[in-house]
Symmetry: D3
Amino acid sequence: MVLVVKLSGRIFDDESLVLKYSQIVKRLSEKVGIVTGGGEVARRYIAAARRGGASNTFQDLLGIYASRLNALLLISLLDNAYPRVPTNIEEFLEAWRRYPVVVAGGFQPGQSTATVAALVAEAVGSPVLLNAANIDAVYSDDPRKNPDAKRIPELTYDEFEKILRSSSLPGGYELMDVWSLSILKRNCITTYVFDGRRPELLEAIAKGENPGSKITC
Amino acid sequence: MVLVVKLSGRIFDDESLVLKYSQIVKRLSEKVGIVTGGGEVARRYIAAARRGGASNTFQDLLGIYASRLNALLLISLLDNAYPRVPTNIEEFLEAWRRYPVVVAGGFQPGQSTATVAALVAEAVGSPVLLNAANIDAVYSDDPRKNPDAKRIPELTYDEFEKILRSSSLPGGYELMDVWSLSILKRNCITTYVFDGRRPELLEAIAKGENPGSKITC
Amino acid sequence: MVLVVKLSGRIFDDESLVLKYSQIVKRLSEKVGIVTGGGEVARRYIAAARRGGASNTFQDLLGIYASRLNALLLISLLDNAYPRVPTNIEEFLEAWRRYPVVVAGGFQPGQSTATVAALVAEAVGSPVLLNAANIDAVYSDDPRKNPDAKRIPELTYDEFEKILRSSSLPGGYELMDVWSLSILKRNCITTYVFDGRRPELLEAIAKGENPGSKITC
Amino acid sequence: MVLVVKLSGRIFDDESLVLKYSQIVKRLSEKVGIVTGGGEVARRYIAAARRGGASNTFQDLLGIYASRLNALLLISLLDNAYPRVPTNIEEFLEAWRRYPVVVAGGFQPGQSTATVAALVAEAVGSPVLLNAANIDAVYSDDPRKNPDAKRIPELTYDEFEKILRSSSLPGGYELMDVWSLSILKRNCITTYVFDGRRPELLEAIAKGENPGSKITC
Amino acid sequence: MVLVVKLSGRIFDDESLVLKYSQIVKRLSEKVGIVTGGGEVARRYIAAARRGGASNTFQDLLGIYASRLNALLLISLLDNAYPRVPTNIEEFLEAWRRYPVVVAGGFQPGQSTATVAALVAEAVGSPVLLNAANIDAVYSDDPRKNPDAKRIPELTYDEFEKILRSSSLPGGYELMDVWSLSILKRNCITTYVFDGRRPELLEAIAKGENPGSKITC
Amino acid sequence: MVLVVKLSGRIFDDESLVLKYSQIVKRLSEKVGIVTGGGEVARRYIAAARRGGASNTFQDLLGIYASRLNALLLISLLDNAYPRVPTNIEEFLEAWRRYPVVVAGGFQPGQSTATVAALVAEAVGSPVLLNAANIDAVYSDDPRKNPDAKRIPELTYDEFEKILRSSSLPGGYELMDVWSLSILKRNCITTYVFDGRRPELLEAIAKGENPGSKITC
């Protein structure tokens, strides 16, 4: 069995969370592909570059470098991971056939790490993508602003796309942008969205539970 | 001055068109970045792979290889182009500072060459993208099916996005998908859509004309 | 046991042949190295480049790119092949120790894919090279022009070299040029020439038959 | 004329300092090689890795990745720098001959960025190394602990080495470890130590002043 | 179990020694990392470059190329070694997880192969480094010049460092320079120094003997 | 104007010859591509590998590594050469457009450095190849064995091929093998064969003289 996990960059702002994720990944019996976001370090460097007049391309590259730093930290805590951070899908695929765990950050400018995770899930033929997010589930609207916002345990990609467009879902774009969504849809990969601050949910999902939201095609 | 040109893959199905484009590029005084599509060869190999059960990742890689073959053909006909086909934006950028002409094909799976062209335009700071397309302009609908379809000489990215969604514009997605559109928009790059079978229009646009459609932010 | 197979580029002009080869390669119990030619796509791009005045180096590179497209198509149809197309013998050798099947196209300008196949056979220590050719066997002369041309089931490299020089053997040079011949000879690798349009002969040879010609040192 | 500058990682903890350095580097008429340290980001990731039981090799790699993030930030703020972060001396040297400014971070585990700066100075034949440090000059002892500590404007590498061994010079090892010292000495490269929080001193030294300490062979 | 072996470059001046080492390495049941020095070839090329006015960087690179030639010779004599010479620690580490034997030469200018061996031992987590040296053990002084020089079977890194500084130990620096010493010390790796002209001692040490000197932290 | 020079590996067995060649290359006003042979070092390592049972592939790789060591020595003595040794024709071509001098050794197993020189001459469009050989000219037979051997100042490739086949021309194969000959012929490149021990002849030929033999198509 094969799992692909997307770890929000914010997880890396809390070192103890990273350690917990590394311990859980070690315990998993599945072959695991992991994609890490950029987090606070990415935001800080991108902001500095923007203020100094750097191009969008370089701003994105700084975010990619930061996400690779996160990927390398996770690799350093695992015993059996590919010891490098792959920088494109072909390198990921080659490492994948040889190592039980492969961890990547961003691949290239103009592309979110959510999209990298979708590309990885597609390339390794994973039926699921586990998205350790900044929210605990998909809601019909921003639960902090709209008291009527409803938590949605199961939905389709088409329904999710409508929510993305119409609502102010916090972290919505980071969760899944249009490009990643189209890749997941074309492969019918099921996405599990769960609270990234609770690493134990990763195991729960691997065992068949759905502690957050489940998006299907 | 700097120009980025997207050449539809279909141009490469007609060898004499490729020769004409190479002659025009040689005459341009601008620094030129070119991105080539995959064309008939891409379609044929992707179809064979799909029938044999290959994954989407490999189908996309075949399209990328075919687009690079097109890029190399164009390079072989120019005197002053970077002699390799760059395979990612960082390599493109490095070559760009050293050569008057750089020609790329696709970069990675799950990404159209339209998006590569947008990324290149962003990275080199080009104010314009010249899209040598399979249609001669943007229309309100498919002109071959709808006699009321109107040719639109000037429009905004938002207007173009609406047309993409609502109509059956032939080659619409190939012209510009959602991801490429968002990159062009975030950089306020002006896109000129023109008939790819008429290479002379490239020079016309470089001189300030608008023989097809002009899309602005 | 180890097998090295050279697939004529023409095989890739017929998609159903490629599918059949992929199925047979999956069934083989041997470790298999495969080298693919360029075929019709190569010929078309080289001709266009030549007409446009491209150098021999670029003409050869176009043939190499086309042969790699063929190699990638075959890879996409196999489950256990090295997922990249190696571009030199060192990369081939490294992949070889890790994957049951490795598929390459051309390596560099001025070198036929027949020579690449010979270099691969030498590098992996293969006792045999199976040449899926455009003819069904070696003949004393062109059987289509000379009614007295004799089919030769077994011959030595020295005898083959004489035929190459003196006759108008169709596809002779493509079958084996002087450089590939000298490599095969210096390693005493046995070459089996067989009709590339009949994929089933690959299995027959693997089982010890000689449906075409056998060339020994 | 040629300059090599070592920027302490701590400079990158203060974004406004980085912007000032970028403006000064743009104004310099010299060809400039720059090596950046890792700073707070490096320290935080290394600490997390150590707590999680990562090897020294991976701890060092995290520091190197962080220093490359700093290098890329500086590159993004310059117009004429090599657009990549070179990862070894050969790549640095190749970029050096083509760009007026090249910026690197760490090269490999077990090696300080002070040593990278010394290797770069040696490789490009620079007569000087400008060390933007965490102290404003070399002292005979830690000035914050020992009121008798004397500021030393000029000294030799041998004298410096003695101070390194005998005193508790703050940031002493970071300033120059034994390996970097031996490289600077074998090439008779003059080192200028100055307060990294004052970017204007870079220009002062380029004009011939010695606002901190000058170490000669 | 894991072993890291440093082979003095002089061993490669005697071809029969190299063959013997290859046979012993084949017999070892441990996973083995090997680092080779440059030897006579390195010295000759470095001397020629120096006389012609080449920089220290290029002199060091010539030594590195020569050491890699030695590494490749050893690789060519083994059946199960990584078929390439890794050029940095990350490549070594990646090869290490896939091959029972990995052989490297130098990594970069300004760095001895003794340091490379220490970095490798650190990276692969080896508890020991076997140093096949130009002397048969550590002595208190040069035994050829000082009749009172004492052979020291066991000592600490601190004691060894004192001898290095105070005595004229022949080949002392080549054995272990300050940088390699600090890496071995920070990881508490035990070094066995033995006579490189006696390959059989490699097996003796692997079995627990100490035929030369043992240096511990 | 453009020159391609092939330096016999034996030249590198005599350090003073290498220095003289470096001085002459510095004085040339032409853009110069140089290919170096392996010489005595190559022969020694290949012999050791063969005795130890290494494959032909590895024997050839050792020769390639040795030829690259020679290339790097020459590079280290020049001011304006590409600072790396290109390992394939694409890398050579890229370096060629940026540096006045590019120096390569061997490219790949099964290919002589004479062939590399021919490929380089073809790729850079050089009208001539200057072959600094182990003999001073082409002879009708071995002049040391046959007193009737005639020195041939001018000949065609076809005539040269006949001599290669029929006679025991010393160093004949090293001078030009069948593959290099076919490349030179298909591009009508004129080859000048001259005594490699007399570097001054390089300048003489550059000025239009023919001190040895001139081979034309």
